[in-house]
C-alpha cells in the first residue's frame, strides 16, 4: 500500500469534506480513507478546523458604517459631474510607481544619444530628496525615517559591493 504522503489525492480531502467532489473522485477518496490511518486523521483535523471557522462569531456592521457608505455613494453621484481630467490618472492602477516609471523612462530616450558620456546615478539624488522630505512641516515621522535610513543602507550596500 502507498505511504500516506504518496497519496496524490490528499488535496481532495477538503473538497471531500465540503461535498464538492464528483462521484468518481469521492469513491477514490473513500477507498483511500479506508486504507490509510493518517488520511483519516487528516480529514478529522480538517473537519475540526472547518468547524472552528464556521463557528467564528460574525460581526455586526458598525452602525456608523452604513451611514458612511450611503454618504460616500451619494457623493459619488455628485462627483460624476467632475471632469474626467480631475480624476486620478490610470497609470496608478496596475503597478503604481513602477508603471509610472516605465512611462517616464520613455522620456529618457532623448538623452540616450549621450550614452557614451558618464551618467550620474539616481540614488544620491533620491537620498537628498528623502532627506529634504524629512524637513517638511507636517511630520511624516517614521515614514521618512524608514525610507531615508533604508535608502542610506541600500546606498552603503551598493558602495560596498562596488568596492568588493
Amino acid at each position: 500500500m502507498k505511504d500516506h504522503n504518496e497519496h496524490e489525492d490528499n488535496v481532495l480531502l477538503s473538497a471531500y469534506l465540503d461535498g464538492q467532489l464528483t462521484e468518481a473522485e469521492r469513491a477514490r477518496v473513500e477507498a483511500q480513507l479506508s486504507g490509510c490511518g493518517p488520511c483519516r486523521e487528516e480529514v478529522e483535523a480538517l473537519r475540526y478546523m472547518k468547524a472552528v471557522l464556521a463557528a467564528a462569531p460574525r460581526r455586526a456592521m458598525p452602525p456608523e458604517l452604513l451611514g458612511a457608505i450611503e454618504d460616500a455613494v451619494a457623493s459619488r453621484s455628485w462627483t460624476r459631474l467632475i471632469p474626467a481630467a480631475l480624476r486620478a490618472p490610470r497609470v496608478f492602477v496596475p503597478a503604481g510607481a513602477l508603471a509610472a516609471l516605465a512611462l517616464v523612462a520613455g522620456l529618457w530616450l532623448g538623452l540616450r544619444r549621450d550614452a557614451s558620456q558618464d551618467f550620474i546615478p539616481l540614488e544620491p539624488l533620491m537620498t537628498a530628496h528623502a532627506r529634504y522630505t524629512a524637513e517638511t512641516l507636517v511630520p511624516q515621522g517614521s515614514l521618512v525615517s524608514s525610507t531615508y535610513s533604508a535608502q542610506l543602507t541600500a546606498q552603503n550596500d551598493e558602495q560596498d559591493q562596488q568596492a568588493d
Binding site: 497609470v91 496608478f92 517616464v104 546615478p121 537628498a128 530628496h129 528623502a130
Partner: protein, 343 residues
C-alpha cells in the same frame, strides 16, 4: 566655499504659535489640531509601530520600536521579520545618527528639523492652508488603545497625495499616519500597535555614539544646506535658473548642492506646504533605471522597492547643455505639467 548652515537649536526653529493640548470635548479646530500634532509629544513613551509602503501590487513593511523622551530625544529601531534590529536611528534634536547594524557602521549628521529653513514655518503653514482642505472627523477613533482625532489634509489640486493623521486626544502624538495616492490607494502608512506612556526611559537609549562613528555623514545627504538661489549661484559659480513658483501651488523653499563623483548636483526644493518636489540640475545626465523596473524593484528583494515607493516619480529632460531631474510623490501628469513650465 562656506556652507553656512543656519542651525539653531532644535525646537526653536518652530516658531508656529503652539497651542497647549486640552482634552477636546468636541472636535477641535483643524488648524489647531494640526499645530498641536506638529509639536513633538510632551510625554515620554515607548511604542511599536508598523510602517508600510505600497506600490502597485507590492508592499514593503517593517516594524519599528519607537522611544521618545521630551523635548526631542528619539530612538527608532527598525526590525527585520525575525525581530532582529536592522537599523537604529537616534536623534537628540540636534544630531542624528543612523546605525546600520549589519554593516556595523554609524552614519551621523544633523538631525531633522535642526535647521532654520529659508521658508518660515508660518509661510509653509500658509501654503498648506492654501493648497489643502483641512477637516476633522466628528468622532474620535481608537488606535493602540488610545483615542484619536482624525485630521484630513485633502489637496485642492488633482495629482497630489493626501494625508490623514490620527492625533492622540491627550498628548498630540500622531498615532497613525496614512498617505494616499490620488486614487485613494495607499502610498504609506504608519500605525502604532502599542503605546506605553512612560515616565522613565533609560537615558542610555538616546546616547549618541559619535566618538566611535566609523563613517562621517559627508556626501550622504545627512547635512543639507538651505540656501537662496543667489547663494547657490555664488557657491557653485553656476548660472542657476530655477523659478520661484511652479504650477499647482508649489513655491521655492531652498536650494543646496552636493557632489557625486566629480559632478556637482544642484538641488532646488519646492513645497506646497505638505508635498515636496525636488528639481536637480546637472552637467551630465542622470541614469534612470533601465526599462523602469529592472534595477528598481526586483521582486525577490524588499529593500530597493522602499526607495521608489517613498520617492514617488522621476522625470528628466535636457535644456541647453544642462540636464534636469524632477522628483516627487505626485502624479505623472502633475510632474509633466510642472516640467512643461520649466522647459
Amino acid at each position: 566655499m562656506s556652507r553656512t548652515s543656519r542651525r539653531i537649536s532644535g525646537l526653536l526653529a518652530f516658531s508656529l504659535s503652539l497651542v497647549s493640548r486640552p482634552a477636546f470635548a468636541e472636535a477641535p479646530d483643524p488648524q489647531k489640531l494640526l499645530e498641536s500634532a506638529l509639536n513633538p509629544p510632551d510625554v515620554a513613551f515607548r511604542g511599536r509601530m508598523m510602517v508600510t509602503h505600497w506600490f502597485g501590487k507590492q508592499t514593503s513593511a517593517e516594524e519599528v520600536e519607537v522611544y521618545h523622551s521630551p523635548p526631542n530625544l528619539n530612538r527608532r529601531e527598525f526590525l527585520s521579520p525575525d525581530g532582529a534590529v536592522q537599523r537604529v536611528v537616534v536623534s537628540d534634536g540636534d544630531v542624528e545618527e543612523i546605525r546600520l547594524v549589519r554593516r556595523q557602521r554609524v552614519v551621523s549628521g544633523d538631525a531633522v528639523k535642526s535647521y532654520e529653513k529659508i521658508m518660515k514655518p508660518e509661510r509653509e503653514l500658509e501654503l498648506l492652508l492654501k493648497n489643502y482642505e483641512l477637516s476633522v472627523a466628528t468622532r474620535t477613533d481608537e488606535v493602540a488603545g488610545r483615542q484619536a482625532w482624525i485630521l484630513e489634509l485633502k489637496p485642492k489640486v488633482a495629482g497630489k497625495p493626501w494625508q490623514r493623521l490620527w492625533v492622540d486626544r491627550e498628548h498630540g502624538l500622531i498615532l497613525e499616519n496614512k498617505r494616499f495616492l490620488p486614487k485613494r490607494h495607499y502610498a504609506e502608512l504608519s500605525r502604532y500597535s502599542r503605546v506605553e506612556l512612560s515616565k522613565n526611559l533609560d537615558p542610555r537609549l538616546f546616547e549618541l555614539k559619535l566618538a566611535s562613528a566609523s563613517t562621517a555623514g559627508a556626501g550622504s545627504g545627512l547635512e543639507p544646506d538651505f540656501m537662496t538661489l543667489e547663494e547657490l549661484s555664488k557657491a557653485t559659480g553656476k548660472m542657476v535658473s530655477f523659478p520661484t513658483e511652479l504650477p499647482s501651488g508649489f513655491s521655492f523653499e531652498s536650494a543646496d548642492y552636493f557632489s557625486v563623483g566629480e559632478q556637482t548636483v544642484l538641488h532646488a526644493r519646492y513645497t506646497d506646504g505638505l508635498a515636496v518636489l525636488s528639481l536637480f540640475q546637472t552637467d551630465k545626465p542622470v541614469r534612470l533605471p533601465k526599462g523602469g523596473t529592472a534595477t528598481v524593484a526586483p521582486p525577490s528583494t524588499a529593500r530597493p522597492s522602499i526607495r521608489l515607493a517613498a520617492i514617488g516619480k522621476v522625470l528628466n529632460w535636457k535644456r541647453g547643455r544642462q540636464y534636469f531631474t524632477l522628483m516627487g510623490d505626485v502624479s505623472v501628469e502633475l510632474l509633466q505639467s510642472v516640467s512643461a513650465q520649466l522647459k
